[in-house]
Subunit: 221 residues, 2 copies
Amino acid sequence: MTRTRVHNFSISLDGFATGEPQSAEAPFGHAGQRLHEWMIATRFGASVVSGDGSGGSTGVDHALAEQHSVDIGAEIMGAHKFGPPGWQDDPDWRGWWGPEPPFRTPTFVLTHRPRPPVEMAGGTTFHFLEASPREALTVAQEAADGLDVRIGGGPTVLRDFLAAGLVDHLHLVQVPLVLGRGVRLWDGLEGVEAGYDVEAVSSRRGVTHLIFTRAPGGSVA
Amino acid sequence: MTRTRVHNFSISLDGFATGEPQSAEAPFGHAGQRLHEWMIATRFGASVVSGDGSGGSTGVDHALAEQHSVDIGAEIMGAHKFGPPGWQDDPDWRGWWGPEPPFRTPTFVLTHRPRPPVEMAGGTTFHFLEASPREALTVAQEAADGLDVRIGGGPTVLRDFLAAGLVDHLHLVQVPLVLGRGVRLWDGLEGVEAGYDVEAVSSRRGVTHLIFTRAPGGSVA
């Protein structure tokens, strides 16, 4: 049985997954890199950013971060993750990640304005899809060919998948800052913890990893 | 130098310190006791609830909970903590805590409708005060006679003290549930972590203790 997973999804103490306003210069708005510094400091983060994995920490932050890539056969992301506001008007936009994005699988971008697929170096192909969470998951699961599907965010898309009861494994990373504004993860998700086991562990860096795993026999929806 | 401290202040993952609606039957609204079960399960909690400290856990949850009472000479609380909506109309209301409240110091209740002080058994005297956070703190510090002052909440009052830069030590306990509605702690506190060292530790029970201590030379306001 394949699972639907979320990894390295960083939020502030007040639950914001991004600041505001989002732009080409500031993908996370006034949050800057502050939500993701913990990951950039890991060996996993170093390998994603610079392509070589020789730097970075190798403790609990790294171990959890690296799960991001294990046994994943496809990703689903929202339009807000793929590009800054207005990217749909730019036919040449290929995402934030350069010629070799770190996904290395079929990657489904949810958008109301689909376009033809784009094949990138390193195994990533971007597909553009107008679909409900459940429909998108069916398509991605087929593409994943027996491996798991990762929900890549942003917060609006993750919220939709959580509300639909489609997430089996949720790894959040709470960073000790109060952003005050941006896009919240938790809105509309009252009681979402039901049906999950929740594990919490804080690292030396001061972030807290929250890991929700579907309880045996647990139902979320 | 005396400090202004907050202890055992429980919040949900989405930052709510109480549910809704608050009433005489349900002081925390739909949250019930869920935000405080971790504390009730400790030896400290057992001693507060039943008056005898023979039951309850004695690990990290207990050790941190018990700091609540150490070197405290006065408490400041908000009107919403002292009683259900409308308590000001009941001249006989003496708080939720029975004849011997667990505060055992002068306790200042912030209200727009002050009344004469009420002396309870066990060392608690309730004083009723219409004052700004800074004014109330000055009065409470005098009463504390060289010991620290605890800000007892609720969330609205704590937020006011944090916004005014008056809190030196803040112990929050994040409980892994999504309440969805109620009163949030974090609103209006963007950047409040500046000037604090933040320590995070999760206990076996799955709650995460977040301890903000004023950094050496740190300024909050």
